[in-house]
Symmetry: C2
Subunit: 244 residues, 2 copies
DNA sequence: ACAAAAGTGTTTTTTATACACCCATGC
DNA sequence: GCATGGGTGTATAAAAAACACTTTTGT
């Protein structure tokens, strides 16, 4: 039973694929100024006992995005997130199972990029299954080509932050301007912009609604709480606006 | 023989995939100010006789990009091009073969985006196989979800032009500044920028080498011929520079 | 001479950058 | 009072946008 061989054998042999979805799930710990990635430990061969991206093989009748959602929901409970397709990695021999497997099956990985709110994220511990956040600058050794996928995801996060409002998907409903600033400088680095200029630019865009409410966190002047106004943002969404 | 059913039948059933590569091959006819896409006519069911993107199923041992290259080389002969992965479309039932097929195989399409030089492109007519350029604003009815893929590709072209030098991949070795301008305004629309401002911005970036040679095309003052200097461009490649 | 295409320059407006400084709170 | 974080303003530099004008060719 070798599914990839066609009856008419002078045709080139088509590859048979299993399609996996791997999620680059990122989160931002603004208290410690760290960008974190969610890793799980592999429970089976190959790469047993090594850390890797949370992933799954796609089931019958399941869309790619549904598979990405499923694996996300299995590992983590969040009330808000951003999810989009990242890239498809599909060279032969990226998965050692291909060589060993007599069925001659290729493994293809469609990666998804997810950004979740760190504060509200609760990891779901499933028995022996280890799962943890890792600072993206202190990654352990990783299975497959997952390090490459993570790099790709981190790059996507940076560019997305610059020209799209994904930050507001993971900020709480109400937030201060320095909450946003901390988020941005954690991802983009301290040098990305002066705080007051960042503030002014953001306010000039007119999609932040000042609730009038103040919040005080420790010493210092209390900060205004803002809310993202998606209606006011709508007309800007196709413009090439820059947040930095 | 149903490959997707595992011996241990209480496991969820994994989908088996055939992976196709579909190319959005774009080209710019600067004489007629049109953005063109390469379409082929389907020679078999489903959608027999309808236009679609040039595509192929991935063969054993072949990388995704190699498949994209192969289909490109089969349809067209160009001396220069730009190629990158676009998006992976993979919902169930996007391909009618899925329903009819007793093997319960899913068809997944990894689309690639290609930009080729129109002047030098020679279409390869393979017997009865019809193949032609279509203005992107006058598409015929298309098979599968290919219209959606094309829209995605057109969008990619627009954003790529704005912040990366792909235009120089498809311009001839020597070109005039208005050659570039025409290319940009064909893709981005007439309103994207004033000609003289576009010129000045481009020249200030210092990666266009003036060859000193002039070219005269019909009446009017002869234009300088420039060459793209990839060495001078290299330090800029990670900067967020804008060409418009 | 004149139209057509190429190329230069100038003015105005807008945006970015780098700061200095004021404000409200906890201790 | 003063350290701390929040918020405002200003002066300068740079870039974008609009547009007038010159230069060099073909006819």
């Amino acid at each position: 039973m070798i599914p990839s061989i066609e009856p008419n054998s002078n045709k080139p042999i088509l590859a048979d694929f299993k399609v996996g979805v791997d999620n680059v799930i990122l989160s931002i710990d603004t208290h410690q100024n760290r960008l974190l990635i969610l890793l799980v430990m592999r429970q089976e061969e190959p790469y047993l006992g090594q850390w890797c991206l949370p992933g799954t093989l796609v089931r019958n009748g399941e869309t790619l995005e549904a598979a990405a959602d499923r694996i996300l929901a299995e590992k983590i409970q969040v009330d808000n997130l951003y999810l989009e397709q990242l890239y498809t990695f599909g060279g032969p021999n990226r998965d050692p199972r291909e060589a060993a497997d007599s069925y001659n099956v290729r493994y293809l990985s469609v990666s998804y990029f997810a950004l979740v709110r760190y504060q509200s994220a609760e990891l779901i511990a499933t028995g022996i299954g280890q799962i943890d956040w890792y600072p993206i600058n202190e990654l352990p050794e990783l299975a497959f080509d997952h390090r490459q996928i993570i790099e790709y995801g981190q790059q996507r996060l940076k560019s997305k932050l610059e020209y799209s409002p994904i930050a507001f998907d993971i900020l709480p409903e109400l937030f201060t301007l320095s909450d946003i600033y901390q988020l941005y400088s954690t991802v983009l680095g301290e040098t990305f912009s002066d705080y007051s200029n960042f503030r002014n630019r953001l306010i000039k865009l007119k999609f932040l609604e000042d609730t009038g409410v103040k919040t005080s966190r420790g010493s210092g002047r209390p900060a205004c709480l803002y809310r993202f106004d998606s209606v006011a943002f709508a007309p800007l969404k196709d413009k090439p606006l820059l947040f930095v």
